[in-house]
Amino acid sequence: MADLRSDFLGIKSPNPFWLASAPPTDREVNVVRAFKAGWGGVVWKTLGEDPPVVNVNGPRYGAVHSADRRLIGFNNIELISDRPLDINLREIKQLKRNWPDRAMVVSLMVPCEEAAWKRILPLVEETGADGIELNFGCPHGMSERGMGSAVGQVPEYVEMVARWCKANTRMPVIVKLTPNITDIRHPARAANTGGADAVSLINTVNSIVSVDLDRMAPNPHTDGKGTHGGYCGPAVKPMALNMVAEIARDPATRGLPISGIGGVTTWRDAAEFMALGASNVQVCTAAMTYGFRIIEELTSGLNSWMEEKGYQRVADMVGAAIPNVTDWRYLNLNYVVKARIDQDLCIQCGRCHIVCEDTSHQAITATKDGKRHFEVIDAECVGCNLCVSVCPVEDCITMEALTEGVDPRTGRPIDPSYANWTTHPNNPQAAE
């Protein structure tokens, strides 16, 4: 058995899977169910000042489905907790007492005034919660009131509030970042400068999931009108991975602990976030799609993989892929690959041919000796990977690196040495 125990900023949990601050962590009854199911911890649904906010009575969620209605993307316009603060605090305190081994982090969102933060922090501290997460991410509703992503989009505000919190509580401070920004490194640096103990990301992405073409209104609608929501679920994972990696490899924030969020659905997703530098992950949409029992697959899958790979503790593999994330300009331009089609696996759909023919480099045949046959023409293949991407059969088309001889496309000999754009003769700024 691999050791799945997690220690994030001194906050211990039996596994690195926390439920993200969201509807699943809104109330005691849900969180008890989550803990019973085996979740390592929760970030409690964001608390604000009394009087509590109100939610719409129309639909809060929208979705993007695959053809068989598998949920690919998810969208919400729910606001922060709409229950009185004292009820939330009482439940948090009770839960932490009853489940001392689970992580209990409380998400907070109050106006950008130090007094407001000073008021709420001691109340949270009193519950015995393990830490706080500053919600600088929600892009809908609250942002119109100067909170949520309206703060996260201004690095100076991020730094300021982080500093206030660090000055007014002993609890670890996690800053949750919004992806609705040009360069994620700026708010991350600001959080770091403000003294935050960690960042968590990503919050949801501004989105309209679809348009009702009969009603001519966004889906879902509230009495005929719709507003943008926050997008999450499997669809946002690639964006989240990139942002996590950007922060992890930024010299200004290197070593700043990261809690990875964004479409984590399976153990593999979690392992990928961790490989790119997240110490733990937070999950919401997957739980809201399948229920809490997915934690069994998450822990079992992560354990099996870690055992197979010889990782004894979670920390052993955190950040393992970061050294291999680099800038384009450092990619090896001498590395030459050609697509290879395994004729035994090929099912003859011809999609590799037509996409290459129509949209790429005319490098795959359609016939050979008058018969349907798909084969790569090395003299045309640039190794772009489009055919691999569209092939319906896994591993039928692979990319093979040329290690010797001549690249038939360029006529140039394969050079085993490394050379990148920074020294390339075509680069006007090339270093001598």
Binding site: S66, A67, D68, R69, C346, I347, Q348, C349, G350, R351, H353, I354, A366, R372, P392, V393
Partner: protein, 463 residues
């Protein structure tokens, strides 16, 4: 997708397992179930999921395998994007009988056999069911997606109101020609109306489709008009600018055995036609023990339908081995799921009877003798039977062509035609089962009718 509910469930009914030949062997609910849709229509969700399985192949093998060249990847993509009317238009523009072909095409040997999914996972995209989903949608709306061109002033006679004739008529009408269809039977539709197994075309699908085809306009129909009896080819040629012959096969092959004339020895195609036209299935006489002689689709159809009408034992006996059977693998399995027994290498030797009552059939075991010819062996077996169905093929009856026959070339006993479905007689085209080298399939008949119509149109409009 056989539901396997055929046969059985006879208990408690008056006819039940009555000996000999009896009517009303089943209850009303049994008939409804046994002769309802054998393959249920896809629901919207099922169609979307199934459509998503299509890879939208380049130069798709399924399209190549379709005798009518329906753009299958395109229509499936249209279903996937919920453009179902568009999907139906794609289908019907190539095959106006797309609805019927979706039901009775042996897709397992055509488009679905070619599907690349077979290589990936042995489970092709259910093209036939998707095609039905799209065409049902359009026909239910009562839309005629095509518009006739301006009247050309040309007149074309079509003999035979089956799939070949009506497909030809529709396409000619589309081009603005005035078409008259002469049908020997009471109703149009040909084998779709009189021949296809009832559970494949439940709910009046055949007539609904005929109405749809005719709704293009410009097609006059004259039923109960048989060539050689009520009209002659010479008259048709005289009164029209072109003639299309699509009269199918009127003859039934004979066993040439003693006892063939007994009332219990029945032509399968005749019985199926009666079954298809029956208002009340319980009125059909059904043997308790049924023997079917033959190995093609008709043999399977009559066997399964007999079982579903309440026959206790139904055995199909084919003179050669399994591989030589014309019935597809799917059809053979369908028969077996329905409790039909299939025996091979049985050559009918003698019909057994007591007076006028059939009691069984004696078969000789067949074998391939010297020179590769099928011959009867010494050993024999006997099957008890109340009814013996002959399903050993149909034949073209050239006599209907009258004097014109002299100028019409035949091949293998059927009309010889060229690539464009022209006969050897000027101004006369032919297609469907009555022409040589036909596949005896609805879809092939439609392809013939379409091809002939294009050729006729070119002929009528040439400068």
């Amino acid at each position: 997708m056989a539901d396997g509910s055929g046969g059985g469930a006879a208990g408690g009914n008056a006819g039940g397992m009555a000996a000999g030949i009896a009517t009303g062997r089943l209850g009303e609910a049994d008939y409804r179930r046994n002769f309802g849709d054998i393959t249920p229509p896809l629901t919207r969700h099922e169609a979307l999921v199934e459509a998503d399985r299509c890879y939208f192949c380049y130069d798709a093998p399924c399209l190549q395998a379709c005798p009518t060249s329906i753009d299958i990847p395109l229509f499936i993509r249209q279903i996937a994007t919920e453009n179902v009317s568009g999907a139906a238009r794609t289908i019907l523009s190539q095959n106006i009988f797309g609805g019927m072909c979706a039901r009775d095409c042996p897709t397992e040997t055509l488009c679905e056999q070619a599907c690349v999914r077979n290589l990936a996972e042995d489970k092709p995209v259910e093209i036939g069911r998707l095609q039905r989903f799209a065409t049902d949608h359009l026909l239910a709306r009562g839309e005629q997606p095509f518009e006739r061109e301006a009247a050309s002033g040309k007149r074309v006679a079509v003999v035979g109101g089956g799939p070949a004739g009506l497909a030809c008529a529709h396409r000619l009408a589309l081009h603005g020609h005035a078409v008259t269809v002469f049908e020997a039977r009471e109703k149009l539709g040909g084998l779709n109306e009189y021949g296809i197994a009832a559970y494949k075309v439940a709910g009046g699908a055949a007539q609904r489709e005929v109405d749809f085809v005719l709704s293009i306009g410009g097609i006059e129909t004259r039923c109960n008009m048989a060539l050689g009896r009520d009209i002659t080819l010479a008259e048709l040629r005289r009164d029209h600018d072109a003639v299309f012959l699509g009269m199918g096969l009127a003859g039934v092959n004979a066993l040439e055995q003693e006892g063939e004339e007994l009332p219990g020895v029945i032509d399968a195609v005749d019985y199926i036609a009666k079954l298809r036209q029956a208002q009340d299935l319980s009125s059909l006489p059904v043997g308790r023990r049924v023997v079917v002689i033959g190995g093609g689709m008709t043999a399977i159809d009559i066997a399964v339908q007999s079982k579903r009408l309440g026959a206790e034992d139904v055995t199909v006996v084919y003179r050669r081995g399994k591989d030589a059977m014309k019935a597809s693998e799917y059809e053979q399995e369908l028969a077996q799921i329905n409790g039909v027994k299939i025996k091979h290498w049985g050559l009918p030797h003698r019909i057994l009877a007591e007076g006028q009552r059939v009691t069984g059939v004696e078969f000789r075991y067949g074998r391939i003798g010297a020179g590769g010819r099928l011959e009867a062996g010494e050993e024999s077996f006997t099957l008890e039977a109340d009814v013996v169905f002959k399903a050993i093929g149909q034949s073209f009856v050239p006599a209907a062509l009258g004097e014109a026959l002299e100028a019409l070339e035949l091949s293998g006993g059927r009309l010889a035609v060229d690539e464009e479905r022209r006969t050897s007689l000027a101004g006369v085209w032919a297609g469907g089962d009555c022409v040589a080298d036909g596949q005896d399939l609805t879809v092939a008949a439609v392809a013939d009718g379409k091809r002939a119509a294009d050729s006729i149109h070119a002929f009528l409009t040439k400068a």
